[in-house]
């Protein structure tokens, strides 16, 4: 291996540090719309992942057979996540409320009920009224 690889490692490391700093700044310091913040964060994350995967893990210089072993994980990831969403995230018939059912009507007794008043879940140990995200107060914020 030539000295170019050592040099490349330093350059890649510099880019990783720079992208991490930019990513943290983008995610915490700006008041952009949520879609813009998330898009930028995902771009930074996958950019950093690509640098680590390609250079640090040496995949750029490896045989194609190793790349072919990793490629099938991409559609499997998509299937695992997006195929579950209709049955999990957006399902009104779940016995124990998760996902969007958390913000349906919650009475003071903490028992989850659907919008029609039907009991849909177990009593919640942290009974709290559903409030809009903009008015949400986190009782555990700041360590209190």
């Amino acid at each position: 291996m030539s000295d170019d690889h050592t040099f490349s490692a330093n350059k890649i490391f510099g880019f990783l540090i720079l992208y991490t700093a930019l990513e943290v700044a983008w995610g915490t310091a700006f008041d952009f719309p949520r879609w813009a913040i998330w898009s930028g964060l995902l771009i930074f994350a996958f950019l950093k992942g690509y640098l680590i995967f390609t250079w640090f893990m040496h995949m750029k210089f490896e045989q194609p057979i190793l790349k072919f072993m990793v490629v099938p994980t991409i559609p499997l990831i998509a299937i695992l996540i997006f195929a579950n969403m209709p049955d999990t995230s957006f399902n009104d018939d779940m016995l124990y409320p998760i996902g969007h059912q958390l913000e349906v009507n919650l009475d003071d007794d903490g028992i989850h009920r659907s919008k029609t008043g039907e009991v849909t879940g177990m009593p919640d140990v942290t009974a709290q009224k559903a409030v809009p995200a903009s008015e949400a107060h986190d009782p555990l914020a700041g360590g209190h």
Partner: protein
Amino acid sequence: MSNPIEAYDPAVDAPAHHHPIYDYESGPPVDRGKFAIWLFLATEVMFFTGLIGTYIVLRMGTETWPNPDLRLEVDLTALNTFILITSSWMMVRSLHAIQHGDREGMKKWLLWTILGGCVFLGVQIYEYIHMWADGRRPNVDIFWSTFYAMTGFHGFHVFVGIVWLICAYIAALRGAYTKENYLRLELAGLYWHFVDLVWVLLFTIVYLM
């Protein structure tokens, strides 16, 4: 036509490390160890997909997901991310050192890699103790249960990586790695880089989004 079996002479037909009849390399066109580690890492990708995918699926259906900035120490974890990325870079430096025949440099950078991993894990444990004492526990709500599941399993992977690197360091002290033979060090490095890669995604999805 003579019988090939009867005419077989090991001294002539079977020189060291070669099969007398099937004199070609079978198996994948890469090192078996490298093939195996990448196959293992592909399974680890699916393992973490199950955890992170669960988080994504649950969050996508929730309108009032807690703001991570209010519940988590993002600044401290950002510093921790720097530490882990730096340790990954030091692992690369260690490998490059042995590729140039520099055994002392390889050991030095490997030791720094281990220390970086230990610092990362120590900060994570400190964060866990701090949160647990404040009542931020997995049974409180889905945010905390998914948080502890993802970061806990990743932390366990970091611990396994540290143990692996310590074993590699001990082997390095015994002179196991040379300029011509450093595959096992490279395999340990691949696992360590994977752990770093997963954390890069975890930090973004859990702490910043």
